[in-house]
Symmetry: C2
């Protein structure tokens, strides 16, 4: 087990009706609020009205930033910063899924930076200070509600990159599973794939001594397997929505990665798909994952696939190792299919034409090879993209 520093300061209020804490929590950190959200689904489910009612009851002035897109854009960040500065805002409330939360995190950081917010994303400038943020989650997927990272896109330059800072941990997050009842089947499936991919990125590592962390990762995977289809078939199944919501937070808040040195692979590959084609992140991850697994399976990595197959998919451990490994990948792919995820790039509108550019961008951004479970170069990445077509 490698050395690590554990620090997860976000307070989570989990369960139906937990929005009751909102007024009191905001007042701990600020007095003038940026209320940020996406396309308006929070209005359909009555959550917007509830939030506004609480802000008014507590005499908290608020200013709105709406229309934050999936794969949130740097333009939304700039707009948010402008509203915050114009109105002396000292607290940001993100109501929505990972895109809204990520956008708010970078607004909170860019508020204290005089240049173009994109400088922070591409690390041209350093984050020095961050406004406090809180979140009300409406989608179980990215885990942004309990971590210190954000992913922002620039569609002009076809770039989508992650950024992190300890000040970007939300001060609090309200996780009410009933807010995810209206999430579509497609977005539910995508969220499950995202949670599983976060887990895979940490789990598939060469570190053999983090036994406990690997069992925790398997717990998250089993939870996704158990409740993924149920949440799609019975959108108002509280138990399924609750377990997936909590899994989304625990998959990426650090718990699975502490003591390991995993360098993520499938996420950078997917970020290119989203940056060029604006596809749904989780769907891109699901499409790429089995091909990535097949590509990295070799005599050095097979032990991990055997562990995965036996512990997660209950594959008979007396089978030949390679058989277990291949079966485990097959079962992964079948599972995503069982959630009605389109499992080829072509199905989501991606053809051959930009594969080379995207593969080049992946490698250029990391400046060498990507991932460390098995490091991938340009040819590897291109090969995975091609197989996923």
């Amino acid at each position: 087990m490698l050395n690590f520093n554990y620090n997860i300061p976000t307070k989570v209020f989990f369960g139906e009706g937990k929005i009751e804490v909102l007024g009191k929590q905001i007042k701990k950190y600020g007095s003038r609020v940026l209320l940020a959200y996406g396309g308006g689904s929070i209005k359909k489910i009555g959550l917007y009205d509830k939030v506004v009612e609480i802000l008014r009851e507590n005499n908290i002035p608020y200013y709105e930033l709406s229309g934050i897109d999936p794969n949130p854009r740097v333009e939304s960040v700039a707009e948010g910063v402008r509203i915050c500065r114009d109105n002396n805002i000292d607290f940001i409330l993100a109501v929505g899924g990972g895109s809204t939360i990520d956008c708010c995190k970078v607004i909170a950081a860019a508020y204290y930076y005089d240049g173009n917010p994109w400088d922070l994303v591409i690390r041209k400038a350093k984050i020095e200070k961050v406004l406090p943020i809180g979140t009300i989650l409406t989608l179980a997927a990215t885990g942004s509600e309990m971590d210190a990272g954000a992913v922002i896109s620039n569609m002009e330059t076809n770039q989508k990159y992650g950024i992190g800072h300890s000040g970007m941990f939300p001060k609090f997050s309200i996780l009410d599973p009933t807010y995810t009842y209206t999430v579509s089947k497609y977005q539910t499936a995508s969220g499950v794939a995202d949670i599983m991919s976060h887990t895979f990125e940490e789990y598939f590592s060469n570190e053999k001594g983090a036994y406990l962390q690997d069992r925790l990762a398997e717990s998250i995977l089993k939870t996704c397997m158990r409740y993924g289809r149920i949440a799609i078939d019975e959108p108002e199944n509280y138990e399924a929505r609750a377990n997936l919501m909590w899994a989304s937070s625990l998959a990426i808040n650090g718990l699975l990665g502490y003591g390991k040195d995993s360098a993520w692979t499938v996420h950078p590959l997917e970020h290119e798909l989203s940056a060029y084609y604006d596809i749904t992140h989780g769907i891109g991850l699901a499409i790429l994952t089995p091909h990535w697994m097949e590509h990295v399976l070799d005599e050095n990595t097979i032990w991990k696939f055997v562990e995965y197959g036996v512990n997660v998919w209950n594959i008979d451990s007396s089978l030949d190792d390679m058989e277990i490994a291949k079966l485990s990948i097959e079962k992964t792919s079948e599972f995503f299919k069982s959630l009605d995820i389109p499992m080829t790039l072509r199905e989501v509108g991606i053809g051959e034409d930009k594969l080379e550019i995207m593969a080049r961008d992946v490698i250029d951004y990391v400046g060498g090879t990507v991932g460390n479970f098995k490091a991938l170069d340009y040819e590897d990445v291109l090969s995975i993209y091609k197989k996923a077509l």
Copy 2:
């Protein structure tokens, strides 16, 4: 899954050499330190010298409280409070195992209370404010390094009770597995039993919807099963010590209990054994656990034992449910025996004479029945004690 509030603010610095952060961390919270420890094992392993060196290098004045006993006494608390007040101490550093940490937590709370510290433990007075504390852990067992609870004993009145307050979360804990290399075989086994018991207390619950939490609990149990014997046979096996140390923290920091409403059972029963006979806490837990399991196994609880047997002990799920349940209990008992734990009360010097008084004390303290997986009354408790003789 029941509603819950997640809040684990303790920062953990985990791994060999992490003591390097000590000076900087202390300075964040205070300037004059109470350095508290137990019987002197920290001197044998050189840790005392290292801590003192760091305090001196950082020009941090410190005052010592030594000799804190296992099953820490209220007298040590009073002594600690006196030293803190006499020397204007504003930060408490606990170096040791759970007993030292627990004692320091209550010193930190009693510092702000004018009456007898025991009033806080028996809830005659309320904790209002708590001095900041930090810990350097030397024993993987109680999890006190990452939670907000403490257990204090009063040998005059034969009472041992738990107490908690959010202010008692350590600000930081330094977890260096090498500090546990010299822990004796007996104490190592006791620690493993303690970790497993904390897990059992949360796991064996009637809440069926906290699927994820139950898988996390199983991860902790598997970690104990995998590394318990290794740590005894190879005391300097870093991987074993590291996994057990991290398991000790995660077992009781809240992660396993969120979303469930477990009322602990075996701990209150054991606290009486320690209060009357001053035995090693984890040993008492190991002795009682299988008898408690047998006692609560019935048609309502059998499902949980089946889950436990199949998921944790890999018992063939096609067997009859009652067979799986009984086998799971047998395997639990065998496992504790395999750690060379004496598995009867008589072996640790406890005879029949005080069983009734202790059973009465358990019930009197909780004011009715104890536990809620299956609530136990006086006769139940007495029966478990008798079977454990």
